[in-house]
Symmetry: C2
Subunit: 643 residues, 2 copies
């Protein structure tokens, strides 16, 4: 889609988030293309296996059929299938398919996409309302259960699907954007200044309404998002067993200091509030969100980037309450966290936001799907004490337990959320400014864009990262004027260097490093990141992993998996490590020397301090955390106790 | 109640558990009387404040009124009050009142007791069925929801109330025993060999049926309990989100190796299975239960004796999964654990069962009620990171959170469970054999009983335990023949001594120590227990408290509470302790020297290992854990990180 400005053509980026202002302009699918490596592999599996897998299960479970029954006037409370938010999984599938079609045409997928859109659209009611769970005879009335009904949440996912389609196929005649705007118009009437003065129990519609406003130019949607953001935290929803903080209705957003409550809700809400702050120029709100992000990262985030310590309410715990063995770290929370960080990065430009995105992508988003793309983790524990049962590939899992990657869940938010994220991942790689281009994520890629000053930039990124630390940018086009190329230097990358043609490699401190020059075709700029394995310890206030270390290598967190233990060592619980004995590294294959405690007797486990007793030791390979549980049931731990 | 044997009168003990055989015979309320000290104080508050408090809330919440509405034929699904198990709280109140009336007559309480019994009895249906939640027009049919309906569970509590009344007032004309047996007869018909081949989702009826069989001589009830025990674990209940282990329907009881699933359910079931094993002479089952107890204590029990690591499903975690900050440690689970340990103690005689009972009573059961007996903890966390909100004494708490003692809960199992336990606590103090008497719990007491061989024994126990370690037994009556007096020596009591008249004090190793002699009136036998404060560390496999110590003194676990920190130290999260710097003790007032970390910046909390940085130190008083949160909102921790 192109908009004609006064004197030059401005490309609207093809991606999920296109703010009207901010420190950085995102580069969309047409400007960045991941061409190989870690993420391209996963994008291939996503397109070839995960999308058909999701469509199969949506059909099989009847969640698509709900729309047909609604269109036929035959849907009732009794025959509707799935949970109250089942519609949203259909919309996330549509969004994922739209991004994938935006990456590469696929007539079969295009046909399936249009078919699903038609079935969805047929279920829309005359006034624009669209939800299969409310409003029909025998069903609850519309808007009668804002706490748990997820009507606005489902609407938000519909809008995001429509945005994806509008950005990737602006002239499509499938009607999806019309379906979305008709429902959005109804929502603005029902929940506007003079309407129901409340919000959805599950934030999501806020960020979606802003984006729908951005794509359509309809300011009313952004204003409605602002109303939702301002109302929340004033006690508009019912108090519940877990407290109003569960859905962030405890404190007005601009007064909060840290994310709390349900981790997915908290991050979607923060994303939407950031969008509202950017579109309304609300500096106070934006700064409050930045502080909340910083406190959440410093006090409530796992080493994997995962968030959410409680199984009970899928929620953040208190500061430093980060037990690895009860980590919930929901896949969707990590995706929502990436969205929040990305919005702050675009607004403020601070590379630490991209640091967290990288960590979260490699260690949570990449951990959820199996290598074949047909099974998923819902929760991503950092410590599994007993080998899990493998999930039946033909059965819906009732459990969001950390023990298994399962093909589908009763609450199946995570699989389509992973799919839409992978299908749009190219758009998180780089941004541009008036005379600058920023590389945030390192993958083999081709980038071609026009900077704000009209300068045309084309380059490739060549790298084996994260297996190797070399990131080489090759300029494909002579510059007409100098521009600057910025590389993120991850916070762990002490000792990084940057080299430009004709100069010696220079140290590049963690943060960002910039080269400004009149680039020539063929110039190669090389960032060298030290991706050696390293031990990391936690802030001493993280009680749950005191006296333990984790092994990281570049952005990758490693894990000890019981299938890698020597014969006779059957339990990761017995392993200890000497933190003065550095890991060895063979091109990403990391091994450590572990000790194993001699078996202890069955007795009261508290008393005078004792040492570890006799230890036997062995060299044991660690596995990248995102690859764990691919070789059958296993116990696993990221944090290993030190001797 | 007395039964005439062939040539002498045998007293049936007046207590909740009276096995027909076993290593030890319990001494009931008529034989043991706690006369002062820690537990007598709590029994006084229980009678004066807690029992009226419970009756008030049962009336106010309409849980008693449900019975009136049922009797009037006016009860419906719509107007019934409370959760599905609300009836059971009425029955536990009756049981508590019955034990209290057995301890000391109280005409007013007697009248209230009879009034409640009459209201309950009036609701019983013609065929004996009694439950206010099922079977009426608009309600679900009887026995239609065995997983969650709690019908048999409620019946079990009814039976236990009737047993308490029958043992304390064998000739009462209130009709409670008849109400119980009519319902029990119906259950035996409906769930017998030819009936519904299933069990209750919440075990309880098993132990209650055995005791009802013991008190009535009706073997059929014991046989029904045996059927319930044998059926469980064979997959007779539905699979649910948390798995069938939640209600122990995953593995047959005799094949299990450790308690698992919902901690209250697991312990009630184990109690009932022990009763069945004893009454049917099932040695294999009894040994299996002993092994499960040992593994559970060694691998799945908190230092307080509390059990249950998960908030989500109120359940045990895996072995060594014992996070102090997410300890659920439900009050009812600790009471059920005391019941299980007590039954094994009676069956097998091993003093370690009494060790766990003592620890659990002092550190969980005594922690739940407030000093005034009108507010309760449901969950008993070992680490509270943020000061809680005080609970409104006029409001039902929707939350079983660890933050507050609350007057009443939507699920209010714990208050009446504490009440019935304290009212019958005298019966857990001592047991007898043919020619022996065993002291299991140390409190000022008067004991008078007849041993199995007919020898009459009368003695007093004088002690300030647990504040002081001296336990003096004074013999009040010349013996006709030698008998033996056994003292439990707690596992922590290294250095204990025992002295008898005319001999030097002799070492008494942890376990038990016995004096056998021809006791004379006035003999004083003195056990000296070393109740100095001590540091305890956990088995290194308990990840969550690695590198930390707890302070214990005798059976009492101490805690650091933020209200005791010096000015400027506002958070227990910053405190560290030098474990080589012994606590000081001033007659039970324990102080330690703590260090406090200098504030750290807000940054990514994982990286290279660092030391604690600069510390400032101060002497800080600890508080017995059961006394915490009596001085306003406070953060608290039992486990303190070491420097």
């Amino acid at each position: 889609m192109t908009l004609t400005d006064t004197d030059r053509t401005v490309h609207v980026p093809v991606g999920p988030t296109v703010p009207s202002s901010g420190a950085l302009r995102p580069l969309g699918l047409g400007e960045v293309r991941i061409t190989g490596g870690f993420w391209a592999d996963r994008q291939r599996v996503n397109a070839a296996a995960t999308l058909p897998h999701i469509e199969h299960w949506l059909e099989r479970e009847g969640w698509l059929g709900n729309f047909d029954a609604a269109a036929a006037g035959a849907l009732t409370a009794e025959n509707r299938r799935g949970r109250e938010f089942a519609d949203s999984e259909v919309y996330k599938f549509l969004e994922a398919a739209a991004w994938q079609l935006g990456r590469e045409p696929d007539p079969q997928l295009e046909e399936r996409f249009r078919d699903v859109v038609a079935r969805v659209g047929a279920a829309q009611e005359a006034d624009g309302y669209l939800n299969t769970n409310f409003g029909r005879p025998t069903q609850q009335p519309r808007w009668s259960d804002l706490e748990w009904g997820h009507e606005l949440y489902c609407g938000g996912h519909l809008f995001q699907a429509a945005v994806a389609r509008a950005r990737t196929r602006p002239n499509a005649d499938d009607g999806l954007l019309g379906v979305a705007t008709r429902f959005a118009d109804l929502i603005c009437t029902v929940f506007g200044e003079d309407g129901i003065r409340s919000v959805c129990g599950h934030p999501e519609v806020e960020t979606a309404l802003v984006e729908l406003g951005r794509v359509t130019g309809e300011r009313r949607y952004i204003e409605q998002a602002r109303l939702f953001v301002e109302r929340r935290g004033t006690g508009v929803l019912r108090d519940i067993e877990w407290g109003r903080s569960y859905y962030q209705d405890d404190i007005p957003i601009r007064q909060a200091t840290v994310l709390r409550g349900h981790a997915v809700r908290a991050n979607y809400l923060s994303s939407g509030a950031t969008d509202v702050a950017v579109e309304t120029g609300d500096v106070e709100l934006l700064e409050a969100l930045g502080r909340q992000w910083a406190n959440t990262v410093a006090h409530r985030t796992y080493i994997t980037g995962g968030q959410g310590s409680h199984h009970q309410d899928e929620a953040f715990g208190d500061d430093f309450e980060l037990p690895p063995d009860r980590a919930y770290s929901e896949t969707c929370a990590s995706i929502a966290s990436v969205q929040f960080s990305w919005r702050l990065l675009l607004a403020q430009g601070d590379p630490r936001y991209a640091d967290l995105i990288e960590r979260t992508l490699y260690n949570v988003v990449a951990t959820s799907p199996s290598a074949d793309g047909r099974a998923f983790y819902y929760a991503n524990t950092l410590h599994r004490r007993t080998p899990g049962e493998p999930a039946d590939p033909e059965t819906v899992s009732p459990r969001a337990e950390a023990s298994l990657r399962a093909p589908w869940f009763e609450v199946s938010c995570c699989p389509p959320n992973v799919a839409r994220t992978l299908a749009s991942l190219d758009s998180y790689v780089a941004t541009a400014g008036d005379d600058s281009l920023q590389l945030h994520q390192y993958a083999p890629a081709r980038i071609a864009t026009t900077l704000g000053n009209g300068e045309r930039v084309e380059l490739t990124v060549e790298t084996e990262y994260p297996r190797e630390g070399r990131v080489a940018v090759r300029i494909l086009r002579d510059a007409l004027q100098p521009w600057s190329l910025q590389f993120r230097v991850p916070s762990w990358a002490t000792g990084a260097t940057l080299s430009v043609p004709g100069e010696e490699a220079a140290p590049a401190a963690p943060g960002a490093v910039t080269v400004q020059r009149l680039f020539r075709e063929g110039d190669e700029i090389v960032l060298e990141l030290p991706v050696r394995p390293r031990f990391s310890a936690a802030d001493p206030r993280v009680d749950a992993v005191r006296g333990s270390v984790a092994v990281e290598r570049g952005p990758i967190v490693y894990a000890l998996e019981s299938v890698d233990l020597p014969d006779g060592w059957d339990d990761v619980a017995d392993a200890v490590i000497d933190a003065d004995d550095a890991p060895t590294d063979d091109n990403g294959r990391v091994t450590v020397r572990l000790g194993r405690r001699v078996e202890q007797e069955t007795r009261w486990p508290y008393g005078p301090r004792e040492d570890d007793g006799r230890l036997e030791t062995a060299e044991v390979a660690l596995v990248p955390y995102h690859e764990w549980a691919e070789r059958g049931p296993s116990s696993m731990r990221i944090w290993i106790p030190t001797t």
